[in-house]
Symmetry: C2
Subunit: 468 residues, 2 copies
């Protein structure tokens, strides 16, 4: 077969006018469907570069019958052909095949991704193949677009990307149950004289875990470089089998010296709108597919978020609204209790009908590092609540006064010896600062309209499941 | 103090002409030094946005003596002042202070980062504070720039970022010793009837480890989306205390459907040159500092790499050159042995005096997934060797023929049941493809001129060390 440089199908469909009708191109990809009659075959070819397949028209007279039989759904082929205008509807151009090479066939008896639709549950069991479907192609391309937009936003705004550690000897953040990381003999661990596991003999000379948050280390960076962000995997060893929890997920945590809680809210709102706008500007092909197949309010919802201010109010004001709402909630509402998903969704979806930023939560339901308000009972926390998702961002201004921070550590039984390094930032050149965390998969749920968090990450890790 | 929107010192120094001499600005940052006499103080202020500090001139008559005493090396201040041209050398502008607020002092008796220079070894012990030094400010800003350049390069070239799993139940890649991830009771693990640890009761229902490579999962992505890349943490539980090894490091692994080994080499060379060019174009302030302080051939070396072709040759040709070299090597050279660092450096630094790409290694020293050549004894591997670094990239064309791949698995005792999902990609619509891995910290060593890998990652993890 003549060697011609491959063109991506995305480039053909977007730039066919400059490529030129009548010219010969090479395409490579996977066959989604083949139909036709004894004279002509129509192949829908997809290479993952775009959600659309391109139609390959094969006048069978010039082609080897044996090879054509190998071209089944799921097979991989290389096609030299002429770019022609398509007489059919729904496509501007198609390819008149001149030569075809079959790289690999796919046996219709055993290939699991036949033409018929598949449930998302079934596709999770074949997560190694599901990127070849329209749905997961769309989700994974959007996941790339959102990750890139995150890096671009922070780069363009003077933030530095900081790689905080994945393996940590610290569990001060207290955000959740942790996975142990070890090289000790699992069956017969070395013991100390008092019969406890002797972690001094473990790889790092002490007990270590997978990080639940890069925030504390992020603060070290911000208190030197001013504005940093993290974007890395985080872990929770919680036995939560829900559509909203993963044991391994990705988190973005910006941290900014000299920001107060208002600056923090402004950044969070601007950042989220930037990401949604980026999706609308760069992913419309995929969004239209997802809007049609999974959530027909998706695009409207994304546009609404970009175009409208988020509602900002205090936790205390929110409690008053919930109490006066007349709604029957499963969990009763009272000042001092943590808000449940049903409360957050009432505020966002019913009362304000827009994203909401709640601030100034009771200190006893928030972490030790949040800046204490003068009222003695609340802290400068801020949570951003989104429609369908609930909490998408959690953040706060941080306590920068050493004595107040130490006092909180004592009240919450966090040993100073475990976080001497964190306290040092308040001991030496302390500064007002703030930050927040965005769960990447929660954001992905929002921008894709998918309902289950297992369907917005390539290889989900959940209790009893670490396949592939 | 009057509230004025803060300007980053980088913006002052780069854009002072558009900000305008005589205008009032607000700066916030950390004091590097303070000197002067009883009438005037000169403060070098740094906010991490750029390596340069800006000089703050304080006519002491108008300022509170007690506050001025708190302004020590390491303290954090906010300054309102007038942007003026500097009479001194080495700086275009300085700030005539009008008001100063001290956010936090730093006790000269206990603050570890006093004016005097510190060894890199000492700074590793205070990794929580070392981002405040010129050296680590420069390294961390360059680390950001390189990470961003990586995402930008792939995004602009139609690659999709794929998050491969960190926790994995697969250890087929065989790239190194692994860390176990577990929630089982460390002291009294549950046992099976035969007395072995019962991993079916562990969090994921089986034994799991930290990934050593995202490649196998990356191939799943490439064989659906055409071009993908990973950029994430990887782990090796090897007891290697060297300046070139970390237990936790970041790796970039692009994987491309329809690429052969030549396409793979072209991509690797173009990619590496892009990154080095990006550093030269975006990080010259930091490069000039590192060139002056650590490696006075650094900038010349970077320019050389950008401007010259990499030398490409086969492993067999390299062995012939080494044997004919007349050099005395610690490890003898013979066809079939793996190349040692001394051999790689001889080829790169002495013989060719440029980056080298070696291809077609003996199959028995390479991984099972590499494409077998027709000679029956070599595989389509490619390693990129860099001056000072040795191997910076390792990659290959992948074996796409199912039967050959299964045969190699058997020879290398890799159970098919462990990688059925990987084999499925060759079973259904297989395609020629290739990819490589770049160790991010090796690249950081190259572009910064630093000598120890612990100094190019914010929080290094090595045997006996997981601080912060």
């Amino acid at each position: 077969m003549e060697s011609i440089k491959r063109t991506r199908i995305a480039d053909i469909l977007h730039n066919w006018q400059s490529i030129g009708i009548g010219n010969t191109v090479n395409l490579k990809g996977w066959v989604r469907t083949k139909r036709g009659n004894k004279n002509v075959a129509f192949i829908a070819l997809n290479d993952g570069s775009i959600i659309h397949s391109i139609q390959i028209v094969v006048e069978l007279a010039g082609f080897d019958e044996g090879s054509m039989k190998l071209i089944t759904t799921g097979s991989c082929i290389s096609v030299n052909g002429t770019l022609v205008e398509s007489p059919g509807q729904g496509q501007a151009v198609e390819i008149q095949a001149k030569e075809i090479e079959v790289y690999g066939t796919a046996d219709p008896e055993t290939y699991p991704l036949q033409k018929k639709g598949h449930t998302l549950e079934f596709l999770r069991e074949i997560a190694h193949l599901r990127p070849r479907t329209n749905t997961f192609g769309a989700v994974l391309r959007m996941r790339h677009a959102m990750a890139y937009a995150i890096h671009k936003y922070f780069n363009d705004n003077g933030f530095y990307y900081l790689h905080t550690p994945i393996i940590t000897g610290s569990d001060a953040e207290g955000a959740g149950a942790m996975f142990r990381v070890t090289t000790l003999d699992a069956k017969n661990p070395p013991l100390t004289g008092t019969g406890e596991v002797d972690y001094s003999l473990d790889f790092f000379g002490k007990a270590t875990n997978l990080t639940v948050s890069g925030q504390l280390e992020g603060e070290l960076g911000a208190l030197a470089l001013s504005n940093i962000y993290t974007f890395g995997p985080t872990f929770r060893a919680e036995n939560s089998n829900t559509p909203r929890h993963l044991a391994e997920f990705w988190m973005i945590e910006p941290e900014m010296a000299f920001y107060d809680i208002n600056d923090n809210m402004d950044l969070a709102e601007d950042f989220l709108k930037y990401l949604v706008r980026y999706a609308l500007e760069h992913c419309m092909d995929d969004l239209e597919f997802l809007n049609k197949m999974y959530d027909n309010e998706l695009i409207d919802r994304l546009k609404f978020v970009v175009e409208n201010d988020f509602q900002r109010l205090t936790y205390t004001e929110a409690i008053d609204i919930l109490k006066a709402s007349g709604q029957k909630f499963e969990f009763p509402v009272d000042w001092g209790t943590d808000l449940q998903s049903e409360h957050e969704r009432y505020l966002v979806e019913k009362h304000f009908q827009r994203p909401v930023i709640l601030t100034d939560y009771p200190s006893h339901i928030k972490a030790f590092y949040m800046k204490q308000n003068d009222d003695g009972k609340t802290v400068r926390a801020m949570d951003v609540l989104f429609p369908r998702i609930g909490e998408i961002i959690g953040g706060s201004q941080r306590e920068e006064v050493l004595e107040k921070l130490i006092q909180r550590c004592r009240e919450m039984h966090i040993p100073e010896k475990d976080i001497w390094w964190y306290l040092d930032t308040r001991r030496f050149g302390t500064a007002p600062h703030a930050g927040f965390g965005l769960g990447f998969e929660r954001m992905m749920l929002f921008v894709t309209g998918m309902a289950n968090i297992r369907d917005v990450i390539p290889f989900p890790r959940t209790p009893q499941n670490a396949e592939f």
